[in-house]
């Protein structure tokens, strides 16, 4: 009986006007998103290649003097991800450039170079955007009148006059909507992959296909939850227009209200210092250190062994440590504020979906933080390498100055000897482990709401 009901529901949905129109919209959006992505990604990749070439040229120039190589600030820019069609993980909005030298990882910055400031800041038309906005809305639109609509049409009583339990009816309706929405999404994804394959500009390898599989699973979980919300609003009211309003309120609450209030909560519950206050502290520390420095701390000479170079190196090291102390603490506060705020937004299934995408793709905040931590380790290696290189040079007094090259080796160095920072891809095993709690949360949410819907439906007056 369940399968009969399920098939009937599927047929009804497929022949409905709302499905046909939705299908057109979904396929159109997936196609537009993919075509635009291919062009934008190719451009970003080409720009990154130019930037990378320029970086190598600069490094070669700096390598003519080992001290220049160690002290001059370099920037590491995150490479565009080919899997950002799945989800850009809001990487455009995060800092994407790290400033470092052999002595310190100074800061993380937002690199605006390929962003047009005259355009509105909007999200990319990625698969995750389509699912979180369009598919979740469609799931509600398909589910809001499942019960209340049938009651209005007086078909619900007729169905229940058969020997079938209410639980089975609810389950069949739920499963049919879930299947249709998921199938529509998968169709959109397949078209998107087809367009990308034809273009030949996006690498579609096993990793990408595994990530796509992960994305479909996550999508299924989100749609399952949103559909339950639709079902719940349908059994909550006897009138389909009221059900719709309740559904819309759910959607607005999770897709708009919770994300929109995040900044408010961040500032009220987890405030951090203002940037200019931190800058003022650094400036004050700088002034104090300079005022208390022994005389001759700013003296220099063409002779590396000039004894005041040691004073100069000491002062420069203290100045850098002063800046590092405040900056590092500020950046850690920033991470903490972001993480705490994000835990509040987990109330929204759409925020959970975004987090799961981040885990699945190894992008966004996770990528940023991993790189930040890895760069700290790399910087230690880089400095050790430089110190070892410097130790071999008899012409160097080995007085380490993080900002200048007066008192360390001036010898040229082969670029192949220098340790290079490369981004580590987060392994799939680690991604799966991290995704566990979000999946559990989504499933728990779905199970609880389905149970409530079931209880309400059992008590539902079909007359």
């Amino acid at each position: 009986m369940f399968s009969t009901l399920f098939i009937k529901e599927i047929q009804q949905l497929l022949y409905s006007f709302r499905f046909q129109l939705s299908l057109i919209i979904v396929l159109l959006v997936f196609t537009i998103g993919t075509i635009a992505f291919i062009r934008l990604y190719s451009e970003e990749k080409a720009n990154y290649f130019v930037y990378h070439k320029e970086q190598l040229k600069n490094l070669e120039e700096q390598a003519k003097n080992a001290s220049h190589l160690a002290t001059l600030r370099k920037n590491y820019v995150l490479e565009p991800r080919s899997n950002s069609i799945i989800s850009d993980c809001k990487e455009k909005m995060f800092p994407n450039q790290f400033i470092y030298s052999a002595y310190n990882v100074f800061n993380l910055e937002v690199r605006h170079d390929n962003v047009n400031p005259l355009l509105k800041p909007v999200q990319n038309l990625s698969w995750s955007f389509i699912v979180s906005v369009c598919m979740s809305f469609l799931a509600l639109l398909f589910a809001f009148d499942t019960i209340s609509g049938e009651k209005e049409d007086h078909t619900l009583a007729l169905t229940l006059s058969n020997q079938i339990s209410r639980g089975k009816i609810l389950w069949a309706k739920y499963a049919s909507i879930l299947s249709v929405i998921t199938a529509t999404t998968v169709l959109g994804i397949l078209i998107s992959i087809l367009i990308m394959s034809i273009s030949g500009k996006i690498l579609i390898n096993t990793d990408f296909l595994i990530e796509t599989g992960g994305f479909i699973t996550i999508t299924f979980l989100l749609i399952a939850l949103v559909t339950v919300f639709g079902l719940l609003s349908s059994v909550f009211s006897r009138n389909s227009s009221v059900s719709l309003l309740i559904s819309l309120c759910f959607w607005l609450f999770f897709a708009i209200i919770i994300p929109n209030t995040s900044v408010y909560w961040a500032n009220k519950l987890f405030p951090i210092e203002h940037r200019n206050e931190v800058e003022a502290k650094i400036a004050q520390g700088y002034e104090d250190l300079c005022n208390n420095a022994p005389p001759g701390s700013w003296s220099s000479s063409g002779d590396p062994f000039y004894d005041r170079h040691k004073l100069r190196a000491d002062l420069q090291m203290k100045l850098m440590d002063n800046e590092k102390k405040f900056n590092l603490s500020y950046i850690n506060d920033m991470f903490h504020q972001f993480e705490e705020t994000r835990s509040i937004t987990l109330l929204s299934p759409i925020a959970q979906f975004d987090n799961l995408n981040e885990v699945n793709l190894g992008g966004g905040y996770r990528r940023l933080k991993e790189n930040w931590n890895d760069l700290q380790n790399y910087q230690i290696q880089f400095l050790e390498w430089f110190k070892a290189f410097d130790a071999k040079d008899p012409k160097s007094p080995h007085w380490y100055n993080p900002n200048e090259s007066y008192s360390t080796s001036w010898k040229s160095v082969s670029i192949s000897e220098v340790p290079v920072y490369t981004e580590k891809i987060i392994p799939f095993s680690s991604r799966i482990l991290q995704s566990g709690k979000y999946i559990a949360l989504l499933l728990a949410y779905t199970a609880i709401l389905f149970f409530i819907s079931f209880v309400l439906f059992v008590k539902y007056d079909v007359r």
């Binding site: 992505f37 369009c134 929109n260 900044v263 500032n267 504020q337």
Partner: protein
Amino acid sequence: MIWHIVKKDFLLNIFSARFIIGVLLCIILIPFTISVSIDEYKNQLRIYAVDKENSEKELKQIKVYSGLKPELIKYPEPLGILYKGINQNVGNKVKIYLQEYPLFPTGHASTRDNPLLNAFFSLDFITVLSLVLSLLALVFSYDLITREHEEGTLRLIFSNYTGRIPFLIGKITGVLLSLLPILFFCFLLSTLFIVLSPDIKLQISDWIRVAILFIFSILYILVFILMGTIISAFVKSSSTAIVLSMLCWIWFVFLWPVSGSYLSKSIVKTDLYDNVRNSLDDLDKEYGKLEGEQWGAIQKRLNMRGTNWWNASGGEDGYFETYGSPSETMEFHRQLNTWKEPIRLSYADRKWPVQKAYLDGLIRQQKMEKNLSWFSPSEILVQAVSCLCRSSEKDFLRYMDETRQYRETLVTYLKDRNLFEKYIYFTPQDPATFVSTADFIKGNNNVPDHFNTLDLKEVPTFIDIPAAIDTSLKDSFTGIAALILISIILFSGSIIVFNRYQLR
């Protein structure tokens, strides 16, 4: 008769669940939205005060004209609380250099203290209004005709002397009047928050702009009511009408604005700013070579073996300051500046076409986004509102034009007074106290360490003239005209479709 229909629909609507839910939605959304915007505005004001103080302090410490690099700090736009526009993408500081025309402002006023929080989007008042009101307009209007048809009251109404057009006008007016209290409530709530914030001072002209925003919002609601009406007249059942209305809503309010913006980036390519910077750096290198040659030529002309300085410091954009150096060095720098400053200015003129080409590319991309946004009423509203809130790209480009004009005025000031050729351009020391090279080598250069700062009263100052109301209205005219045109088309369409509506 129209009045009776209006009254009946108005009363039915305001006591309905949808009205209560609409008001509740606004009660939840508006305070949060306005609070976040006010917080952000206060932060901008704080940054403005700090930046302004630093800029003025820096200017007061100048002792030579080569150090005159005024930094213009833009006052945060108070109407940005209602609509941020592109102000959220750009900085608040413009430093005036001789070697380059200002292209984009720098600074952190537009970004949050924690850039990671940019990942959490925060909507402004107008965006929330465009989302909620369009939704409510469709929810109130999707069953204008279908419900009457389903309940069988439509035939009953037309059995009297009621025309179809007056009926339609009455229905539409009824819905519009039902939504007006919600709209008014939203504006009232937001203005209350603004008025109760002591840091925010809106001028009378700003309040007039808010009033015009209210009128624009009514027009916007009308477009969606008419959209709901035409759908209601087009289909037979309310369930089909609501689905169609909701699909229209998600398409026009969410999907098309993002698709349009994403497509415009993909259709119109812009150069990478790194490449533009490289071209500008190449010109700087070319100039550097010329300066090197001139350096040698002047030394030769003055029969100098080398250059000796006593207290010298330098910085960006040709800033150089010295005192206690021998007269030969002073003369060398005077001659070098006489040659180099006009050349640096000419290099700025050579750099400008490169910068302009980049800017034109960005503008072309923005125009494409704007053209694509004509397909969405919410985007049209946002365009019109951005002009009224002085946060449109036109306002930004106008401001940058003003900064470039100011640079020209400053250059003219320096040229007219022949300051490049004077010692005061690089030394605060009185030329009568310059020492000869021989005395300098002997160490006889007893120069005081303290010098007066420059009196900059006569130096032109920058006055930011924000767009007047008439300019803003002119800028937003096309948007408003488009909304009116869409309303007329939709209304005519509703009449045509409803006239053919089968009452049976």
